[in-house]
């Protein structure tokens, strides 16, 4: 196993820059997820690590050794492709053995390695079939087997689950996690699915248009999104982003949000760690997770504030009921308990003050709040997954 370092990596086609100044570090045994919408450069970055995509400048190190000038085969990596890329004319056995064969590994040793992988992935019964005779899930396993058999320093996964149906995807996701826990290998995993990212990663890299937006643990990415882009990308439904103004009154910091009716809503928050960042009257963006807005009877929480809002739409999903509120002209989504009877019309909600984030209007960057490190709300993963 090994650590992976990517240093000021650039890649461009002519004038078009597809990867910009990428710096990523994955320690030994890290499960690194590259997360972003399609076209954000995450697959290109993976290809660059694999040696399939040339880079314009920068460096990639595996175990401290620069690999940019090495052929893919000399980088000691293995890759699982989105399309699985199984060789259609070869049996499962030959697919798994192909890499060893072209490297001249002796047959005995090959057979041993295949047996070991087949055992791990429970594909022993499939070894003599061709890929065309396998189901999607089985192909997925074979593709992983082909990577696993090599025991490489770094495993690369390119959206490996996106071609599976929903149920199988959840199963395979759990299997990959188990596999990872057993191998404790270094993994780079590309996905556009935030649930996959949250459940699998030890470290997530959120990307957009070839630029890294945030690197952090799933908790950090969810709880303290670095900017409005990450806030709006992570979570389902994502964080509510509402225009607001900073007010100071009696030594307290208030967030002024357009309320229902004429009266603006004032929410007391701990305020920015550095008060000079946001003088009186500064426009900011308030970020509130849907689960930080709820009905009074649903939860007991210390730091809450009442808000009045108009319920526009109620969408039960079974485990949760999503309520679309009109808060002074802004659309806000709240995650409520399914048992709570709600009708369209005026209603009083509670907002968890500790869960409010503030972002700079012009840059979209998150503004650090005072005493924040202590008051981190716990992230409830199950809720995420159910979305």
């Amino acid at each position: 196993m090994a650590q992976l370092n990517i240093r000021s990596l650039h890649k461009s086609y002519g004038n078009l820059s597809v990867l910009e100044n990428i710096d990523i570090e994955a320690r030994d045994g890290e499960f690194l997820v590259l997360l972003g919408p399609s076209g954000c450069g995450k697959s290109t970055l993976l290809g660059a690590i694999a040696g399939l995509e040339p880079i314009s400048s920068g460096d990639i190190l595996i175990s401290g050794r620069s690999v940019v000038r090495l052929e893919p085969k000399d980088r000691d990596i293995a890759m699982v492709f989105q399309s699985y890329a199984l060789y259609p004319t070869m049996t499962v056995r030959d697919n798994i053995a192909f890499g060893m064969k072209v490297r001249g590994v002796a047959k005995q040793e090959r057979d041993r390695a295949i047996a070991r992988v087949a055992e791990t992935l429970q594909i022993g019964a499939l070894l003599d079939r061709k890929p065309g005779q396998l189901s999607g899930g089985q192909r997925q396993r074979v593709a992983m087997g082909r990577a696993l058999v090599r025991s490489p320093k770094v495993f690369l996964f390119d959206e490996p689950l996106s071609n599976l149906d929903a149920k199988l995807r959840v199963e395979m996701r759990a299997e990959i996690k188990k596999l990872y826990q057993r191998l404790s290998a270094t993994i780079v995993y590309v996905t556009h699915d935030q649930v996959e990212a949250m459940t699998l990663a030890t470290k997530i890299v959120v990307m957009k248009s070839g630029v890294v937006q945030q690197i952090g643990s799933p908790d950090e990415i969810y709880g303290r999104p670095a900017n409005t882009y990450v806030a709006g990308f992570i979570g389902s439904p994502p964080m509510n982003l509402i225009p607001a103004r900073m007010r100071r009154k009696d030594g307290r910091v208030l967030l002024e949000i357009e309320g229902t009716g004429d009266k603006p809503l004032h929410v007391a928050i701990s305020g920015p760690a550095n008060p000079s960042v946001t003088p009186e009257g500064t426009a900011v963006i308030a970020g509130i997770r849907p689960e930080a807005i709820f009905l009074p009877h649903e939860k007991n929480h210390e730091h809450t504030q009442k808000i009045d809002a108009v319920v526009d739409l109620v969408e039960p999903t079974g485990s949760d009921t999503f309520v679309t509120l009109n808060l002074g002209g802004n659309k806000v989504i709240a995650r409520c308990h399914p048992k709570s009877a709600l009708k369209a019309g005026r209603e009083t909600f509670l907002v968890d003050i500790d869960g409010i984030q503030i972002f700079d209007v012009s840059t979209g960057m998150r503004i650090e709040q005072a005493g924040e490190d202590l008051g981190m709300p716990p992230v409830e993963m199950t809720r995420l997954a159910s979305g």
Partner: protein, 301 residues
């Protein structure tokens, strides 16, 4: 055609619709059947004529079934039909053509497979231009290369020989085989070659172990295509070979148009059938691949 009666989905009355539909189906089947007769007619006439004696041909009718079928015309066609005074039948020319068609099919197929792979599996500068240059070769008007090619073959000492003809078919087959394989390999997901690279396979290993086995169906198409084109070729044969070296279609044309005495129509037809048989058999047993080649390489017609 009376397509208007095929069906009327907005009936004024059910009776009229049924009648109209019936008439429509009748028109469809009648037309299809007439064309079946039209297409089968010449084949039927050729076969029946080839089984008749020359007396029966003169006295009977064109479409009459042979009353005393004989395979003598086929035997004559094979072993002693005459071109001028040279009465060897088709057999030596049949063998010529086999000697010609095997290398002239296999060599361009092998090279075309590699070319098609090289044109698709990696991006390199000028790739599209290279392909366009080769592709245009498929449309070469052969009249425009006859004179230089005849000159070249003469300089190489290959004028009038089968080996010269092999060379001609190889070089002008290359654009086609390259095009076929290129169009196949371009549909192969690029991930496969990437996976092979990560597995450690080089350029040629990827071709040999991953791509070539995959291309088996298209290889059959290409082989059949190339075989049929060469077997049925007349222009190159008549331009670049002579005498005993001519391929089958040239020999057939010589036999049929050599005008000494009374025309043995039965032997002519038997000769034509013999010459057509290999490609007809290919059509019967590998029609799927033949048609695929036809559709993909329709340019050569």
């Amino acid at each position: 055609m009376n397509a208007a009666t095929l069906a009327s989905p907005m009936p004024r009355s059910a009776v009229r619709t049924d009648f109209g539909r019936l008439l429509g189906w009748a028109a469809v089947y009648f037309t299809l059947f007439v064309f079946v007769l039209f297409f089968l007619g010449p084949l039927f006439v050729m076969i029946t004529t080839s089984l008749k004696s020359i007396e029966e041909i003169r006295l009977g009718t064109l479409i009459g079934i042979p009353r005393h079928p004989t395979i003598q015309p086929w035997i004559d066609a094979w072993s002693n039909a005459c071109v001028g005074v040279d009465c060897t039948g088709l057999s030596p020319f049949f063998l010529n053509t086999i000697y010609l068609v095997v290398p002239a099919t296999l060599i361009p197929t092998a090279i075309g497979a590699l070319n098609g792979y090289a044109l698709t599996q990696v991006n390199f500068r000028g790739q599209n231009i290279v392909y366009a240059i080769i592709l245009f070769g498929c449309f070469t008007p052969y009249q425009a290369i006859l004179i230089p090619l005849a000159q070249t073959l003469g300089k190489l000492g290959l004028a009038g020989t089968i080996n010269g003809l092999i060379l001609a078919h190889v070089v002008y087959g290359l654009p086609f085989t390259t095009m076929f394989f290129r169009n196949f390999f371009i549909s192969v997901p690029s991930d496969l070659a990437k996976a092979a690279r990560i597995d450690g396979a080089g350029f040629f290993q990827t071709f040999r172990y991953v791509m070539l086995p995959m291309s088996l169906p298209i290889m059959v198409v290409v082989i059949i295509w190339q075989f049929t084109s060469i077997w049925n070729d007349f222009l190159f044969g008549v331009a670049f070979t002579s005498g005993r070296n001519v391929p089958i279609m040239v020999a057939l044309n010589n036999i049929v148009s050599s005008s000494t005495g009374e025309r043995p129509y039965n032997i002519d037809m038997a000769s034509a059938m013999l010459a057509a048989l290999p490609t007809l058999l290919v059509y019967v047993f590998a029609g799927k691949y033949f048609v695929r080649g036809l559709m993909a390489g329709s340019v050569k017609g």
